[in-house]
């Protein structure tokens, strides 16, 4: 199977078979990661740099573990503390790193399109770890793998994505991926956090959560992105929780075997009931984290294969 991409910038550029290839390879790594010895040498000799211009704990840790388990030399750069403060531009920073010959560059940036911009300038393979409100492809892939393992398939499912869609790159990447895999997608949220233009992507839009959750197979909750809001999207967190927070009563509208997902970190009691999030019969939130490492290993391996072929 050939993965004909130099970078992983977004789900937008991937085909159905690209997505399936990443998920199939990731399955292999799920097994490996569950063994006591979890190491491979497929990235041995390659240098991976994680450049995070925005705070991240879990995604950065996930990429770091993924790289280390595959034998890459991994370096983390906390960009907020470094040259950006000295006035260096994004491109100059990237060019500086590029001169050190990294092979894999993992980038998160607060502005949409920043990773696409870097892709025009660097020689190495670039992985988008989230850019502004645009895309977060590895999150969508790990969500897809979680769904596929829980439901046995990744097509013809009714999937609800709920909450702060407007500010969410996770929602955009998932919307594109799940649409490409031919699922029926419902978006649920207050209209201030769910612009009507999302309907043009083939999703159904609901502002009533009870109605929207009827008979869905998958409930994906989104984090309320307080840090991206410049005020006044919702009246209060308690009203938001009342109308759009996932609790047992609202979940009862969904299919009895519907799974509950959340990309984390969670605001318990704001978008999701704490007990429900911890209910191992319904919540697959911990599995999502586990799948994250496997999916990132798979994505990096596929990009590294192309690098080695090109060399």
């Amino acid at each position: 199977m050939r993965f004909a991409h130099r970078h992983l910038l977004g789900i937008e550029h991937l085909s159905q078979s690209d997505i399936t290839a990443i998920l199939d390879l990731a399955e292999k790594y799920v097994d490996m990661n569950r063994q006591s010895t979890k190491h491979s040498d497929v990235l041995s000799g390659l240098t991976q740099i994680n450049m995070f211009f925005e705070n991240s704990t879990r995604t950065q840790a996930s990429f770091e573990i993924a790289g280390k388990r595959l034998g890459a030399d991994v370096m983390n750069m906390a960009m907020q503390a470094s040259s950006i403060k000295k006035g260096e531009t994004l491109i100059d920073t990237a060019m500086t790193l590029n001169a050190m010959h990294p092979d894999l560059l993992v980038v998160r940036h607060p502005h949409s399109g920043a990773v696409d911009l870097l892709a025009q300038k660097v020689n190495c393979a670039l992985l988008n770890a989230g850019d502004g409100k645009h895309e977060h492809p590895t999150q969508a892939l790990l969500d897809a793998l979680t769904i596929r393992r829980a439901k046995g398939r990744l097509h013809r499912l009714n999937i609800a994505i709920c909450g702060d869609v407007a500010h969410s790159r996770v929602a955009r990447s998932n919307l594109i991926l799940l649409g490409k895999m031919e699922n029926r997608i419902r978006l649920i949220g207050p209209p201030t956090l769910l612009p009507s233009q999302f309907a043009e992507f083939g999703a159904e839009i609901y502002d009533d959560m009870n109605e929207g959750l009827k008979d869905v197979d998958v409930v994906m909750m989104l984090r309320l992105q307080k840090e991206r809001m410049d005020g006044g999207f919702i009246p209060s967190e308690r009203e938001y929780y009342h109308r759009y927070g996932l609790d047992a009563a609202k979940l009862a509208q969904a299919k009895p075997d519907a799974i509950v997902m959340h990309p984390g970190p969670m605001n318990r009691g704001v978008e999701i009931d704490g007990t429900l999030a911890d209910d191992i019969n319904r919540s697959v939130i911990q599995e999502q984290v586990e799948m994250g490492v496997a999916v990132r290993m798979a994505a990096m391996e596929l990009l590294a294969r192309n690098l080695r072929e090109a060399a």
């Binding site: 949409s112 399109g113 790159r169 612009p195």
Partner: protein, 426 residues
Amino acid sequence: MNNTLFTNARLIDPETGTDSPGWLHVSDGRIATRGEGAAPALEAQVVDCGGQCLAPGIVDIGVKVCEPGERHKESYKSAGLAAAAGGVTTIVTRPDTSPAIDTPESLEFVTRRAQADAPVNVLPMAALTKGREGREMTEIGFLQDAGAVAFTDCDHVIANTKVFSRALTYARACGALVIAHPQEPILSNGAAATSGKFAVLRGLPAVSPMAERMGLDRDIALLEMTGATYHADQITTARALPALERAKRNGLDITAGTSIHHLTLNELDVADYRTFFKVKPPLRSEDDRQAVIEAVRTGLIDTISSMHTPQDEESKRLPFEEAASGAVALETLLPAALRLYHVGQLDLPTLFRSMALNPAKRLGLGSGRLSEGAPADLVLFDPDVPFVLDRFSLKSKSQNTPFDGQRMQGKVTATFVAGQEVYRRP
């Protein structure tokens, strides 16, 4: 003085709306006579136009020259050469420099620089409020005496309606033209794109096209209140057009312009965050673009401008949200406008009505026409010659054009200011 006979020309006359073969005689910097068919025998230097188009030179309202403050982006010399190469014979400059042109002294500096360096006519505009901050009006009377042809805070909307209404009232007493940027400033704050499917897909902060109509509605109400003379710098959305139409029908002294980029590009051209396509207001939907073209055709929108805004590489090589807005366009204005001619949407007299006659009229200039006695500011161009634009061939100091690498059709052959040749294509 000069005495030139242009023969074998295709005369584009926006006043009569005609496009016909003929000749034109220039004497002492003015158009002396003109006629159809073969030229009479006159004692003059003969320029054989070879059947190419001869039109009034373009009068471009809203050109940014970056003196004072950012001369590395554009100087009067480079802007003047670019204008000449683009068939623009009069540039009406914006005061959004740093510092802003808001005193007679700084206006005199600009005038001096322009006279020394630019081969085309330069008419400066001045800020309407000090520092373009929307708090205190500038010395409108003194600035007029110093040569300011209009007053504008450019893309800074004066949010305080009390300040704006007083400035409009005072400007009316001076007989001064006020140019404003119709936009609801709070709704459009931080926007880098027009809200719609494309902005959602790219995750860009977006503004509803309604912000333009709200801004225009407010300005129209203030015009009713004050009776001022007003020009909207850029109308770019379908939703703003009925308000403009009503205001004109009600007899308000209002005109409106649009930019060449909003006439020839739409939001999808931004594609993968191409920052050369970031302009202010942001590029609109195709429906809006078509509506604006139709409004230019009917004359509801009076003028087309380049909105020439030089930006250096550093301010454009940034993530889309952070990148500076604006595009250079003095040299691409005519070829881009000719796209609308080649697809059959606007004829040449209509284009030159919007690019030469109407802007000249609005500023009370005698140029922008081919009538006898008018200044001999002329552009000779071949509307058909095809080329691929190379941005590094531009004469501007900054080369931030969205048309880089694009196929275009139509080139300026020569440009004349007061009968003197200021540019000839090599």
